[in-house]
């Protein structure tokens, strides 16, 4: 690890005190940032400075800081999770930035994700979509042995590819229509690939798509930006499977 220090960078960040308040950009100078620090650690340094100056620090969502909880959600220099591939904002490192650079930080922008404060947004809509059908209806207990259901390795792997979704919302933030198709597809596709999920597959596809539409997410026009922005590289092939599942479900109505 080369220990290179960025002497001075500028962070131009969205400030908005509450959901209904008017937002604006503010630019702050940050000094002495090691390139080995993560992007959120750089924000920590900035916030420490703001607090000591008696200013309000930037509110942002974050938790695990290892790319799996899906909490962090910054739009950095025009990219969801910033200018690196297959990372969340917390995994983005300052070695992707250069001396003197101005870094623009925005919240996820989508009608279905209203801003709570600064770059923190409300993703309750994702919860509602999952609650509409993102499960297999089994109660605890009375379950046959795990090896009774044989699942081919390829099917299990493909289900796992889809199940890797962390629910961060980068797909929605990136999509020009703010579509949640990749998010919905990840769950529908995971369960459609597994025998356990087949029983309710039709009901699930219809319910989750209906809920997505109801909550103000846009339509999918197959531009594929979501796949590129996805920190887990979830393929839009899953959207194709969702379309197939949905169509079959509708046809059998």
């Amino acid at each position: 690890m080369a220990d290179i220090i960025l002497n001075k960078i500028y962070v131009k960040v969205w400030r908005q005190n509450s959901p209904k308040a008017k937002g604006r950009f503010e630019t702050y100078q940050v000094e002495n940032v090691s390139q080995d620090t993560s992007f959120l650690e750089m924000i920590d340094i900035l916030n420490d400075k703001l607090i000591r100056e008696g200013k309000d620090p930037i509110a942002f969502d974050h938790d695990c800081r290892e790319g799996i909880c899906g909490m962090c959600s910054m739009y950095v220099n025009g990219h969801a999770h910033g200018p690196d591939t297959e990372v969340t904002t917390c995994q983005l490192h300052m070695r992707k930035f250069r001396e003197g650079q101005t870094i623009v930080v925005e919240p996820w922008r989508a009608a279905a994700f209203p801003v709570i404060k600064d770059v923190m947004v409300d993703r309750t809509a994702f919860e509602k979509i999952q609650q509409a059908g993102g499960y297999v209806s089994v109660n605890t207990g009375g379950i046959p042995d795990g090896n009774v259901i044989l699942i081919g390795q390829d099917d299990a792997e493909e289900a796992m590819d889809a199940a890797a979704c962390i629910g961060c919302g980068a797909c929605v933030a990136t999509c020009k229509n703010s579509s949640a198709m990749l998010f919905v597809a990840a769950k529908v596709s995971q369960l459609a690939k597994l025998p356990q999920g087949k029983v309710e597959a039709k009901k699930r596809a219809k319910a989750m798509v209906a809920k997505m539409d109801e909550l103000g997410f846009g339509s999918c026009t197959n531009t594929g930006g979501c796949e590129l922005a996805c920190p887990k590289s979830i393929s839009i092939a899953h959207i194709a499977r969702l379309n197939r599942e949905y169509l079959c479900a509708k046809l059998s109505d």
């Binding site: 938790d63 290892e66 909880c69 709570i116 993102g134 795990g146 081919g152 597994l194």
Partner: protein
């Protein structure tokens, strides 16, 4: 007479759980509908408990501080989940899992609880499969297994390096189904700040809405804490930034005894600390030790050249590498338990063989596994971990060995619970990492997921009936009772106190200093003088905190600094208890290593004659010494021996 009644059932170890279930009360479906249960935390233990209780018919209200239950830190568990399925035909059994867990915990766990855990473990796998958890499979379609530290069989089920994520999403999906059916009322972005006790029974909580700042009252017939561990007391740990001990701590201050706080797991394979701006440490799964070999240079001069960047790790020939785990522990090799591996790494680094600039790292090398199995196989097994490592360090672990060092990872200690998982406050339960019960002084890899789900799916749904069976005549809890009003007032006063100090120093500053005190004195190696010093220093820091803390922003708005300040205020008290417990336990066991109690070759030396007990602490006041209660550990089935992995 001890105040602690562990309620361990009579009978032989294999019959205890069955006998107990036959005897405890069951609540009828008609009465379940009238009973309210609060579940705080939505990780594996909380989400599985909330979903299972709701399926049974109880009215559940659940809370998490994140914006979604799916983000609880169980999500970050990588390697796997143990279960005594014996699918590999390698002579695994409930008894063997039980035995391994007791031994791995260095004979400081309760036999009856651990046996129950092993008994229900196979059901967990079945449950998760039914939910659609995409476990790894063999070509024939059966479930696949791998090995973890401290055991000689393959009993770990996994979903790539994201097992915790997949299990949590399974529990989350079950929870979502109950939310959609109206059986669970979910409150996200809410933080529990006080427990409400009415006439000696847990009857509700006070929580702060982290969006509006509003402080709210919630009542129930029973309260379940599934709020995780206290590893973040050390500031730098593998825990998520928000993980905290406040729920358990307010319960402690209301009368729930806190057990074995000095048992903290230091995980051997984390990415080493760099610089001073780091906010957290990242774990590299223990599963990597299946195929990676741990080493440092054999020669001090090589280590020095590595530190100065004059040579690369691959410049060091095989014969000049010291595979110290294989050398010291030939039968378990790289798969010794975590506490043993961590201390061995520290020993080598303290002796001057550390390999990074700070001299605080050892190598975990995949060269040999890649030669043996090919890069594709290794990529399939650990691809996401390798990617994560490269993103953080900018080093490609396929080409160069990983650098690793131990870091705080998991809390074995926690709220004291009886066999029913009930704390010393009637009606208050503690599950998963938040309680103390199953891992003794050291947890084996892949056992945290097992315990969280065992507690939530298969233990609490049975044992809570034994308490709620007596509550069926109690009407809905009235949150206008004076106890609620007082608790709410106390919370508002505490928030105002922190907010109004208006000093000069941000909360994180205190947290970092507390972490440094603990890591230096109550970390991998502890002694009497250091522990006493830690207690003094923590008390001093606590005073400073209340005179110089600076909380910006507004009380009634999103305010992460206010949240942090509250958690750190509790950590500043909890850290002292940790040191006090470590001071009291003048023996070495599992993750707790007292320099005064070591064998000649530097291994931990237990003292069964004086310390074969659970240390449960009773709160007596912030600046007063807590009272120690001892629960003697009785080993009816397993004979106590000095642990050896040689």
């Amino acid at each position: 007479m001890s105040k602690l009644n562990s309620k361990i059932p009579a009978g032989s170890i294999a019959e205890k759980w069955t006998n107990h279930k036959a005897k405890i009360k069951v609540v009828s479906p008609a009465n379940k509908r009238k009973l309210d249960v609060i579940v705080v935390g939505t990780g594996l233990a909380g989400a599985s408990a909330a979903a299972s209780l709701a399926e049974l018919g109880y009215n559940v209200t659940a809370f998490c501080y994140q914006d979604s239950p799916r983000r609880a830190h169980s999500i970050a568990a990588q390697g796997g989940i143990n279960a005594a399925k014996n699918y590999q035909n390698d002579n695994d059994s409930v008894y063997r899992l039980f035995y391994d867990t007791i031994k791995g915990g260095d004979y400081r766990a309760r036999e009856a609880n651990v046996h129950r855990l092993a008994e229900v473990s196979p059901n967990i796998i079945d449950q998760c499969v039914a939910q659609g958890v995409p476990f790894a499979r063999e070509y024939g379609g059966t479930l696949s297994n791998r090995s973890f530290g401290g055991v000689l069989v393959s009993r770990t089920f996994y979903a790539r390096g994201q097992t915790g994520q997949q299990l949590l999403l399974g529990a989350y999906s079950a929870l979502n189904r109950q939310i959609s059916e109206g059986n669970v009322k979910m409150h996200t972005r809410h933080e529990m700040l006080e427990l409400v006790v009415v006439e000696g029974k847990a009857r509700g909580i006070i929580a702060r809405d982290m969006v509006t700042g509003e402080v709210k009252r919630f009542g129930a017939h029973a309260v379940v804490l599934a709020t995780g561990g206290y590893g973040n007391v050390f500031f730098l740990s593998t825990n998520a930034m928000g993980c905290n001990a406040s729920a358990s701590w307010v319960a402690y201050k209301k009368g729930a005894f806190f057990a074995n706080p000095c048992y903290v797991q230091i995980h051997p394979t984390c990415i080493p600390v760099h610089g001073s701006q780091q906010s957290k440490l990242t774990l590299m799964s223990e599963s990597l030790r299946n195929d990676g070999r741990v080493w440092v240079p054999r020669k001090l001069e090589d280590a020095e050249k590595l530190r100065k960047g004059q040579i690369k790790p691959n410049d060091i020939k095989d014969e000049d590498r010291d595979f110290y785990l294989e050398r010291r522990y030939p039968s378990y090799g790289n798969l010794v338990p975590r506490d043993v591996a961590s201390r061995a790494a520290k020993e080598r680094c303290d002796a001057g063989f550390g390999v990074n600039k700070e001299g605080m790292a050892v190598f975990l090398d995949f060269k040999y596994a890649i030669q043996r199995l090919g890069q594709d196989t290794i990529a399939k097994r650990y691809g996401n971990l390798f990617q994560m490592y490269e993103k953080i360090t900018d080093v490609d672990p396929y080409k160069e060995p990983m650098q690793i060092y131990p870091a705080i990872h998991y809390a074995m200690g926690g709220t004291w619970v009886d066999y029913n998982l009930m704390t010393t406050i009637p009606g208050l339960y503690s599950l998963g990492e938040a309680n103390f019960s199953d891992h003794g002084a050291n947890r084996l890899g892949a056992s945290a997921l097992m315990q969280g789900l065992a507690d939530g799916y298969f233990v609490l749904p049975y044992t809570i009936g034994d308490y709620l069976g007596n509550e069926i005549m109690v009407p809905k809890i009235n949150t206008k009772l004076p106890e609620f009003e007082e608790a709410e007032k106390a919370v508002i006063a505490k928030l105002a106190l922190l907010f109004n100090i208006k000093g000069k120093t941000p909360a994180d500053d205190f947290h970092k200093r507390l972490g440094a005190i603990l890591w230096d004195n109550v970390g991998m190696s502890r002694n009497e003088a250091g522990l006493k010093r830690a207690i003094e220093e923590i008390r001093k820091l606590r005073k400073e905190f209340y005179s110089d803390l600076l909380v910006p922003g507004e009380l009634m708005n999103v305010n992460p600094e206010l949240e942090k300040a509250g958690r750190i205020a509790d950590f500043l008290e909890m850290g002292e208890l940790l040191a006090r417990d470590a001071l009291n336990r003048n023996e070495s066991c599992g993750g707790h290593f007292r320099e005064e109690s070591a064998t000649e070759d530097g291994e931990a030396k237990r003292d069964d004659e004086n310390f074969a007990y659970v240390a449960a602490w009773e709160y007596k006041g912030v600046d007063d010494e807590p009272e120690l209660h001892k629960e003697d550990l009785v080993f009816e089935t397993i004979q106590l021996t000095q642990r050896s992995y040689k």
